[in-house]
């Protein structure tokens, strides 16, 4: 067991998978440059020392190109871990993710596989609207992609390893404020959860969520940073006699919906909290599933706590207004009683 930050856990996962399987390699910008950052948030720091520059492959600024190359390489027998420095840049790569990676297996009648991993950091961090989006919902909507969002060090290592071993394209969303990056890449205002990570090989299965806190009065579902907001809200609510059950889905596609449904059947109330704009956000999908499949167990309307329908603002006071806080979650829960 080792105490690790999420960045360290991700690095460890990549290291272990690359040692385990010759075909695994990383492709991205600034990931292996000697004296460089090790990727935008230090995740690949030091790996090129062990694996060289062909397996930690630095590219020019070409998100579309590098993603397409990763797709072709995956179809031709390699197992690439591609990454973009900010999830916002996924839009540049969207054609290759949505039209190629997601569809090759299907269009070929199941004769071609695309064992690709694409890592992307999300979350607002006072960098302005184009380096701040949480756009998991876009990727969740494309059939043929799997999407995971680990929020703890344990899950980061286990899920990334599962993603690498999966024969399908898997998008791994990480949160900038949860990495725990150190040195010059330290994030201001970061949460940086540190956790116990087993040293040995282990996997967290794709498609299984987890209950972070058990409760009987309300179910709160949150992902990445907002999962921690939900936990903080649960502490406050407990003082007022409301016991919240906090669920971390960990995988967004395929969703562990039975975990959420079972919880709602018990509590009768559901609040979903996400750092994403309200309209067309991921929370709406969860709400629709529960409304469809657990309607008669609901004792109150389903509530979404999301960012407002605006681009992420820069000024810290506005950003704090934008990102759902624990207080907003508490207020939303109380309104259901």
């Amino acid at each position: 067991m080792t105490q690790m930050s999420i960045a360290e856990a991700l690095r460890q996962a990549i290291r272990e998978e690359m040692r385990r399987d010759e075909r695994v390699f990383c492709i991205g910008e600034d990931i292996g440059i000697p004296g460089g950052f090790g990727g935008a948030f230090t995740v690949t720091l030091g790996l090129s020392d062990e694996f060289g520059h062909e397996r930690i492959l630095d590219t020019p600024i070409s998100e579309l190109g590098l993603t397409g190359i990763a797709v072709g390489a995956a179809m031709a027998g390699l197992r690439p871990i591609a990454d973009v420095q900010y999830a916002d840049f996924l839009f540049l790569a969207m054609d290759q993710l949505a039209n190629e990676a997601a569809k090759m297996t299907y269009m070929s009648g199941g004769t071609v596989k695309v064992p690709l991993v694409m890592r992307a950091p999300v979350g607002a961090t006072a960098r302005g609207a184009q380096h701040a989006q949480s756009l998991e919902a876009f990727l969740c909507h494309i059939p043929g992609l799997k999407v995971v969002a680990p929020a703890t060090a344990y899950d980061a290592k286990g899920l990334l390893k599962s993603a690498v071993r999966d024969d399908n394209p898997v998008i791994v969303f990480e949160h900038k404020l949860l990495y725990g990056s150190k040195g010059p890449r330290t994030e201001k205002g970061a949460l940086s959860p540190v956790g116990e990570v087993p040293d040995e090989d282990y996997l967290v299965p794709i498609g299984k969520g987890i209950i972070r806190r058990a409760g009987k009065d309300v179910t709160i579902v949150g992902k990445l940073l907002t999962m921690y907001r939900a936990l903080a809200a649960a502490e406050v609510l407990a003082r007022d006699g409301i016991e919240a059950e906090v669920i971390d889905p960990r995988t967004l596609v395929p969703l562990d919906k039975e975990l959420i449904l079972e919880s709602v059947r018990k509590t009768g109330r559901l609040v979903i909290v996400e750092e994403d704009n309200l309209t067309g956000g991921w929370a709406g999908e969860i709400a629709a599933i529960v409304a469809e499949e657990a309607f008669y167990w609901l004792d109150a309307p389903i509530k979404r706590v999301s960012a407002p329908d605006v681009p992420p603002p820069f000024a810290p006071v506005m950003e704090q207004f934008y990102v759902p806080s624990a207080e907003r979650v508490v207020a939303a829960v109380k309104a259901l009683f």
């Binding site: 009768g268 008669y296 167990w297 004792d299 009683f337």
Partner: protein, 477 residues
């Protein structure tokens, strides 16, 4: 010094009543003598008047609460007078305080006539048979939510328990001291145990402490009591039963779900007891009613408005004096033949069958009887009979003639010996000599408990009633 507002004692034996509603709220100005609140027990509800004038303070009982007789539930103070905090020990508190409901209305407005209910609450109410109209909403947007349904179900359960305790206590208190020891009596009362049908192991069947303890243990163990005790409502524990996996509600929906509580529950209990415990035999006899009809007409002509029931009461009183074994009750395993003749008159009301009792019928003339029965029936229909007016009869009269019924098999009103049912007065073909002519006739149906009296004496009693009815001049003889 503020005036205490007390729950008045009702009847000689009633300890606990339900507060139905308040006519005034805290802070209102009250006039002495005006109706202040309503209480109810068993089948009777009463307005209670304000004992003083002033401002109403410290209301400590809410609608639906059970309150003890003679407990203080409010204070009336002069305007500006200091009202100190008083610890209320007697009033039973309600469940834990509900959190303040928070409205989450956005753009849609809530129409006053529309009730909202959460799907979870609706399902629970359906499964448990709780009527939605009876449930108080406390959820956001004025919706009924799960806790409201559960609160209602708890209330109903408590009500059933209390009523059973009350009716059980009524029976216990009617027992003579030779039938039950003081210790046994107190034990039974405290536990709200229904002793009807229970046999005692003491001398001459006296109920002793061991009998009550055994019955109590039996009840605790099985949840069922002696014969005649109604089973408690099946209330489900916390988890809601699972729906079929398609998550659709059941296709079969009752038109209405009426809980077997309150008056209905008591009637159910008593009828079952009567049917189960007695050995009922019904004798029928057709009487010539011409004289009866004529008699009523004569009385009316002289300003005495009497109903047929009043005349029948008069006849019954005479017949019962002559046949006292029909004016008796079973007490444990002793038949008590009563001195006084108190006849219960069955009244059909909205809330169910009530049987107010006319006391000492033998000492009253028809005029008085008529006045009393009118008043009693009115009070019964309005739900305003005192509990003492609804118990302690020695015989019962029930008339279904106005519904076109001729003969029927009335059930004995325990613990009495017999009950007389009267059918309609109707012109029927009758043989007189060799002729068939039309005469007003009426069918009398007498059900008697064959455990307590035999067919011969019962028939002779009925014969006498028929005789007096057909030839009322014999009342003078």
């Amino acid at each position: 010094m503020p005036t205490e507002v007390l729950v008045p004692p009702l009847g000689q034996t009633v300890d606990v009543v339900k507060l139905v509603s308040w006519y005034k709220n805290e802070g209102d100005t009250i006039q002495q003598g005006e109706p202040l609140f309503v209480i109810e027990t068993d089948k009777a509800s009463l307005d209670v008047e304000a004992p003083a004038s002033g401002i109403l303070h410290r209301v400590t009982a809410a609608p639906g609460d059970d309150v003890n007789a003679l407990s203080v539930i409010a204070l009336i103070a002069a305007p500006g007078e200091e009202v100190e905090v008083k610890v209320q020990a007697e009033v039973k508190a309600k469940a834990e305080a509900k959190p303040v409901p928070h409205s989450t209305l956005t753009s849609t407005s809530v129409s006053a006539s529309r009730r909202f209910i959460s799907p979870r609450a609706r399902r629970l109410a359906e499964v448990e048979g709780a009527p939605l109209e009876a449930i108080q909403p406390t959820g956001p947007d004025g919706a009924i939510i799960e806790r409201d349904v559960r609160a209602y179900l708890e209330e109903v359960k408590a009500q059933v328990e209390a009523e059973r305790a009350v009716s059980g206590n009524l029976f216990i208190s009617a027992l003579a001291s030779s039938s039950i020891t003081p210790v046994a009596r107190r034990m039974a009362e405290e536990a709200g145990l229904d002793l009807r049908g229970l046999s005692g192991s003491g001398p001459r069947g006296q109920l002793v402490r061991e009998d009550v303890a055994r019955a109590l243990a039996e009840y605790e163990r099985t949840g069922e009591g002696e014969r005649g005790r109604s089973p408690s409502l099946q209330l489900s524990p916390s988890p809601i039963p699972p729906f079929p996996s398609s998550s659709m509600p059941p296709a079969e929906q009752p038109l209405e779900s009426i809980p077997l509580t309150g008056i209905r529950g008591l009637i159910a209990e008593r009828m079952a007891a009567s049917h189960g415990q007695t050995a009922p035999v019904t004798l029928t006899s057709e009487a010539d009613a011409s004289a009866l009809v004529e008699l009523r007409g004569h009385l009316a002509a002289d300003g005495v408005q009497a109903a047929y029931n009043d005349l029948l009461l008069y006849f019954l009183a005479r017949a019962l004096r002559e046949h006292p074994r029909l004016n008796a009750s079973l007490d444990g395993d002793t038949i008590r033949v009563w001195r006084r003749i108190d006849i219960g008159l069955a009244v059909d009301t909205e809330r169910g069958l009530l049987v107010p009792v006319v006391r000492d019928v033998g000492s009253k003339g028809v005029t008085q009887l008529a006045a009393e029965t009118v008043a009693l029936a009115e009070r019964a229909r309005a739900g305003k009979c005192a509990p003492d007016e609804l118990r302690g009869g020695t015989f019962t009269l029930t008339n279904l003639g106005m519904f076109g019924v001729d003969a029927f098999t009335p059930l004995i009103n325990l613990p009495e010996t017999a009950i007389l049912g009267v059918g309609r007065i109707k012109a029927r073909p009758v043989v007189v000599g060799d002729q068939i002519i039309a005469r007003q006739t009426v069918w009398l149906s007498l059900t008697f408990d064959h455990r307590l009296v035999d067919g011969g004496p019962a028939a002779r009693f009925l014969q006498r009633v028929v005789q007096l009815l057909e030839r009322p001049h014999l009342l003078m003889a």
